[in-house]
């Protein structure tokens, strides 16, 4: 595993000067993933915030070969790039060892891009897919996605007099990918950078399809002060809303277990999208959210062979 000093000394694959918002954790997540990848990498990204802020023509923040195709096909596009690599390497036209990373936001991954991702994982391309999950369609203006937490206030599932934000719980995407029996799958958070770094290194060292779901708090979308992004990521982990775990050789393993499981309210209270949950009349919603977090956490503990 590369030391922090080694990581810091690496030539950045994504340069500064892109146009992400102040305090953007998705941008930080990209930096962390790309810094963790030594050697040659070709990257792709679905349409979304990070594609938009890094590639406004005639500028690019990418110091490595990069392709954006459309919203729903980052995985299929990198499948094609990786297939080209396999054949051109065989023919001796490409001599370098190259790794392939496809990025997508939660919209381009959980929702419209799920089919393309599923296809790529099933076909077994030697690639890493990284979902940067900021829990809504942030690029188009904070609409709910299937990754959006229960009761969150979004532009398409707003809090009104009758309806109180998103009605459903988020889709368990990491589990859906694990069901593909991929070579490697994990959940990570930029707040636990060492854990994230190790997971990327592992995903890229394993032959076959790999997937990492990275929580990526969004200051304007979640409505928290722009210097609190990493704290939001950390609290999501400490409340067990976003457990850090990995799947390898058919087994799930917790890679971080909070010493003391914090209540979900410790996470929601800082975010404008959950403000209503902290009003007396909506207390039941907060309780409901807590119950689901607990249920999922206990389920995961059992799957990982851990006790509560």
């Amino acid at each position: 595993m590369a030391s922090l000093k080694e990581l810091a000394a690496r030539e950045p694959k994504l340069s500064p000067g892109h146009r992400a918002c102040a305090g953007c954790i998705p941008a930080l997540a990209f930096h962390q993933v790309l810094r963790s990848a030594p050697g040659y990498v070709v990257a792709g990204c679905a349409t979304g915030c990070m594609e938009v802020v890094t590639t406004i023509f005639p500028y690019t923040a990418w110091n490595i070969p990069f392709i954006h195709n459309a919203f729903e096909n980052s995985a299929a596009t990198i499948s094609g790039v990786e297939a080209a690599y396999q054949v051109l390497k065989r023919k001796g036209k490409v001599t370098k060892d190259i790794k392939f990373i496809a990025f997508g936001g939660d919209g381009g991954t959980y929702d419209i891009g799920l089919q393309s991702l599923s296809g790529a994982m099933e076909r077994g391309h030697n690639m890493l897919y990284v979902c940067y999950d900021n829990e809504a369609y942030m690029n188009t203006g904070i609409q709910r996605s299937s990754a959006t937490p229960f009761a969150a206030d979004t532009k398409t599932a707003p809090v009104g007099k009758v309806h109180k934000g998103k009605k459903q719980y988020p889709k368990k995407l990491t589990e859906i990918i694990i069901a593909h029996d991929v070579a490697y799958a994990a959940q990570a958070s930029p707040s636990h950078w060492r854990d994230l770094n190790r997971k990327v290194e592992k995903a890229l060292s394993i032959e076959g399809p790999a997937f990492i779901n990275v929580l990526a708090p969004c200051p304007p979308g979640w409505r928290f002060p722009s210097d609190m992004g990493l704290e939001m990521a950390r609290l999501a982990v400490e409340t067990c809303f976003w457990p850090l775990y990995e799947f390898e050789n058919g087994k799930r393993k917790l890679t971080y277990k909070p010493k003391e499981k914090l209540p979900i309210s410790e996470w929601t209270k800082h975010q404008g999208r959950f403000r209503h949950l902290h009003q007396e009349e909506n207390k039941h919603l907060l309780e409901q959210a807590q119950q689901e977090v607990d249920r999922r956490w206990n389920e995961l503990l059992a799957l990982c062979g851990e006790s509560a």
């Binding site: 023509f57 070969p65 195709n69 096909n73 094609g80 054949v87 051109l88 089919q115 393309s116 296809g119």
Partner: protein, 393 residues
């Protein structure tokens, strides 16, 4: 020595692909394209090609993977029909805008709905404005020849645009015809080795493909695509010339059939051209001055060649195997009419929609179109501009 075989259109194009030996082929089955990829998969299974075969979960991903492979620096192909092409539509435009020289056989089939698996041209017509070169095939031989030529046309440094070669679903895709295959090494030499100027896998020279392109550059990039389209005709003719030396078969943008002294003609594309040539021969035998214009290259539209051909005539009928709803005729008719206006060529032009959803067209129907033209020339009255052939009342 060319090999003569009895091949369906699907098999003929699969053989072309075997000989081209593309680096990457992405495939998702759809009738009537399926047998093309079945045959190619057999070649792949037998080790006759070095291709990386990517068997995707949809046509959308097939085109997406083809775009990724082409951007990576590979010679990449896929194939589709009808709803598959419709599902690709978004990425079809992106492939053209990224200037990727992808070649895609489209086995023409009616678009849903209602669902129908048989031939018409509504699928290809749906993306006639997508920035792809579109070349139609009259028979299985042409489908094979067009596939080979398309690679050279698309990859020409002045062009770098994707090409659809089309063949009529079932009518050509599933019908055995006599097809002359060039020798493998002849094809290999003809298509040559592919060396793209920019490639994602050239990691020492990183490029950003598909960036966000706002008000300040998008328009200029579209202008470059428009310009590339204007460079296509000389390249098609140059490639056709090289191909003619190898095969003895020479192709133009259009084909004028018995048109020299003709007074009346019909314009059409695809497999019905063969039937129509028979009708022209019959009518010529009966002393009638009739001819035919086959459009081979539909995009870019060969307006100069068509205008020049029309100048000699007294009346013409355009046969469309697709509808353009809410306008005054089929897509080819609209294009042909547009070539005439303001160019000093003025003749009666009528439109027939025919063969939708695989409805047969026969010689009697085509003859009736020539008869209608005869009446128009005689009476000077055009009458109904939009007509139908083979439609039950």
């Amino acid at each position: 020595m060319p090999t003569i075989m009895g091949l369906s259109g699907n098999e003929a194009v699969a053989h072309a692909m075997r000989q081209i030996n593309p680096d990457v082929v992405a495939a998702y089955p759809i009738t009537p394209q399926t047998e093309l990829m079945h045959q190619f998969a057999e070649f792949h299974a037998d080790g006759l090609v070095d291709t990386e075969l990517v068997l995707t979960e949809s046509e959308h991903s097939a085109m997406s993977a083809t775009v990724g492979a082409a951007a990576a620096g590979a010679r990449a192909m896929t194939a589709t029909s009808a709803n598959g092409l419709a599902l690709m539509w978004e990425i079809v435009y992106i492939a053209a805008s990224l200037r990727l020289p992808i070649v895609m056989p489209v086995i023409n089939r009616a678009l849903s709905g209602p669902i129908n698996i048989h031939c018409d041209h509504s699928d290809t017509m749906g993306c006639r404005d997508s920035g792809w070169i579109q070349i139609f095939s009259e028979n299985c031989q042409e489908a094979y020849d067009n596939a080979l030529m398309a690679v050279k046309i698309s990859e020409h440094k002045n062009i770098l645009l994707p090409t659809m070669i089309t063949l009529d679903g079932f009518i050509l895709s599933h019908t055995l015809e006599r097809v002359e295959l060039l020798d493998d090494d002849v094809v290999k030499k003809f298509v040559g080795d592919y060396h793209p100027e920019h490639a994602l896998l050239d990691v020492d020279h990183p490029i950003t493909v598909g960036p966000l392109d706002l008000q300040d550059y998008y328009f200029e990039h579209k202008r470059q695509q428009i310009h590339a389209m204007t460079q296509v005709f000389p390249v098609i003719e140059q490639v056709a010339g090289e191909f003619a030396k190898l095969s003895g078969r020479r192709y133009g943008l259009i084909e004028e059939y018995r048109l020299d002294d003709a007074e009346r003609a019909i314009i059409l594309m695809g497999s019905s051209v063969g039937t129509a040539k028979d009708v022209v021969d019959d009518l010529r035998d009966a002393g009638e001055k009739v001819g035919l214009i086959k459009i081979r290259v539909y995009r870019p539209f060969p307006y100069d060649a068509i205008r020049a051909a029309l100048k000699k005539l007294k009346a013409v009928a355009v046969l469309d195997r697709a509808v353009s709803f809410g306008t005054f005729g089929g897509p080819v008719y609209t294009d042909v009419r547009a070539t005439l206006y303001g160019n000093g060529v003025n003749l009666p032009v009528i439109n027939y929609i025919y063969g939708l959803g695989g409805r047969d067209i026969d010689k009697a129907q085509i003859k009736s179109a020539f008869d209608d033209l005869k009446n128009i020339v005689k009476s000077g009255r055009i009458g109904e501009e939009l007509r139908f052939l083979g439609l039950r009342d």
